[in-house]
């Protein structure tokens, strides 16, 4: 018996009806506990009644094939409690006559491992399979899915839409009123993973503009299509737009296999503001500015565009000659100002997580050195989130979200801390290269900015540390950034913000344990849902 997990994404309209946006396979389930969102008792009965003795779960290939993820830097639950479905099934059937085996697709593969079917096996697929019609023809090509629903008389389940030469449920009636927010969305008919540019959100004013978009713009844009953008001011969570997800498990006849699941919602990455920014295109249509997209969309980046970086485009980088330049002016071979930190690993790209020192080691006798850029890896320009810190002295410095920044913790240890975890009251270590001294400055406020810029990872040698300056200052002071964020394997029990092994690995919430992540063995900055490229299952990789 074979089955597939599928999910629908929906939004709730102002009349409380639900409108379907798309269907997905390879379903990412983002919630804190399967116990809260599933009831396996009916599946257990189904397995018993059908004399099934083997359950095979085919999971997503590491970071996933055409994965179904949302872009979020922060989520409102502690993922240390998260376990995956196969683990949940294993736990559920532990000690019983039912054997649960987990399989994973190859990294970035669109094909799944072959498992011989039999009446006594239940094969649960939650991985994209290019040979399956429901995946390749409908999940991957939403326009086919929309046509299917429309042709079967279910157009009332879809947002009103228009396709040139196809569906037109928008008609010539009134224009949707979302106030100052976008009221229409143009989606690509051809599948795309470029969510930085697609879809486009518009604020259309009046029927003339609407007709212009329908019969002017769209007439020349292949199979792109127009939909009403559903905004419901009465259906927000903490001021943020919600999307609903209902998911289930269907067999090859598309009958539901009993597997009671709870629908859930997740919000967009950023809360709404009273006003949003537009630019006016050549047709006089207001188009939402890029930096506003996280308020209205869940996917905002090009898939494959990495977000881990140690500096952003506007970063003030301190060169070895004490001049300050922006990130975009440094290149391989540029010589940056660096710092000798006693006790920092001399092994290349190591130590961001294991280093622990004391301010007294260098407070009055800081030794500066130089570090050359060995490699500058640059992500394409996109929506990049950065951490903007204001100190108690009212000075501002911006860090890339993943940059390991030198701080002094409550135990008076100097450690690198990933900037996304910097909090009010933290003490940043500020170096003065005029007096060769160091001190701490207290964080007064922390804000997060989503900018249209690029992020970069500077790999510097021999020291793995470079320095950045305040956003507006050239006061001979700067902050130390380790050039390498430790990549994590699937260390699902890391507590958010933890950056020492003891906290990370002794969590009582640990439910999944990989051999390389032994107690005290592999320290973590934070958590990750998936393994980085090149990381073998269960192995630590720094």
């Amino acid at each position: 018996m074979k089955g597939t997990l599928i999910a629908l994404d929906l939004v709730k309209d102002t009349d409380n009806s639900f409108k379907i946006l798309e269907m997905n396979t390879s379903v990412k389930l983002m919630f804190d506990s399967f116990n809260s969102y599933t009831d396996l008792s009916s599946l257990h009965t189904y397995i018993a009644n059908n004399n099934i003795s083997e359950v095979h779960f085919i999971g997503m290939g590491q970071t996933g094939a055409p994965g179904d993820t949302i872009d979020s830097e922060f989520i409102d639950f502690n993922p240390s409690k998260t376990t995956n479905l196969s683990t949940y099934l294993k736990d559920h059937y532990s000690g019983s006559a039912v054997n649960v085996t987990e399989h994973r697709a190859e990294y970035s593969s669109v094909n799944i491992p072959y498992i011989e079917d039999s009446p006594t096996k239940l094969i649960i697929r939650n991985s994209y399979d290019s040979s399956a019609v429901i995946d390749s023809q409908y999940a991957a090509q939403n326009i086919n899915f929309l046509n299917l629903l429309n042709d079967s008389g279910s157009s009332h389940l879809l947002p009103k839409m228009f396709m040139s030469g196809g569906i037109d449920t928008i008609g010539t009636g009134s224009v949707r009123d979302n106030g100052d927010y976008p009221n229409y969305i143009i989606k690509r008919g051809t599948p795309t993973v470029n969510y930085f540019d697609n879809p486009q959100l518009l604020k259309i004013s009046g029927s003339d503009q609407l007709e212009n978009v329908k019969h002017g713009y769209l007439a020349n844009e292949g199979d792109d299509y127009l939909q009403e953008f559903i905004y419901n001011p009465n259906d927000l969570v903490n001021g943020t737009i919600k999307t609903y997800r209902i998911w289930g498990f269907v067999d090859s006849n598309l009958d539901l296999i009993p597997f009671n699941t709870e629908p859930f919602y997740h919000s967009n990455p950023t809360a709404l503001t009273p006003q949003v920014d537009y630019f006016t295109d050549s047709n006089g249509i207001e188009v939402l500015q890029k930096w506003e997209r996280p308020k209205f969309l869940q996917k905002i980046r090009k898939v494959g565009q990495g977000i881990a970086a140690n500096c952003i485009g506007e970063q003030n980088i301190i060169l070895n000659d004490n001049s300050i330049v922006k990130t975009n002016t440094v290149v391989s071979g540029s010589v940056l100002k660096s710092i000798n930190l006693p006790g920092l690993s001399q092994e290349n790209n190591k130590g961001a997580s294991s280093y622990s020192g004391s301010l007294s080691d260098f407070a009055s006798n800081t030794t500066f050195t130089s570090a050359s850029i060995n490699n500058k890896a640059v992500n394409e320009i996109g929506l990049t989130k950065a951490v903007a810190v204001k100190t108690s002295e009212n000075k501002e410095v911006t860090f890339a979200l993943s940059a390991p920044v030198l701080v002094e913790n409550d135990a008076n240890e100097t450690r690198f801390k990933q900037s996304k975890y910097i909090e009010v009251g933290d003490k940043l270590v500020e170096f003065n290269y005029n007096t060769n001294t160091a001190r701490t400055v207290t964080v007064a406020t922390v804000g997060y900015r989503t900018s249209v810029t690029y992020a970069a990872e500077l790999d510097v040698e021999q020291a793995d540390v470079f320095t950045v300056a305040y956003d507006t200052s050239d006061e001979n002071v700067g902050f130390a950034i380790h050039n390498k964020e430790p990549a994590l394997c699937e260390c699902q029990y890391c507590s958010e913000g933890a950056y020492d092994a003891g906290t990370c690995l002794s969590s009582p919430d640990c439910s999944t344990f990989y051999s390389a992540c032994t107690q005290g063995g592999y320290p973590c900055f934070g958590y990750t849902y998936s393994m980085p490229d090149g990381c073998t299952n269960g192995e630590g990789k720094e």
Binding site: L10, D32, F74, G239, L254, P263, Y265, D277, Y448, R449
Partner: protein, 46 residues
Amino acid sequence: MSEINKNKLYTKEESTTKIGKVDTSDKAPLQNAFTSVLNSFKAKYF
């Protein structure tokens, strides 16, 4: 062209994706939508 939010800073709360259960009254219409989709596929392929 407006750029009032171009460099706006948001709090962590404002930058956090929220996840949660749906209202009880929403479960039936969501389930009905799911069933309608399955029926649409069945009508085409079976």
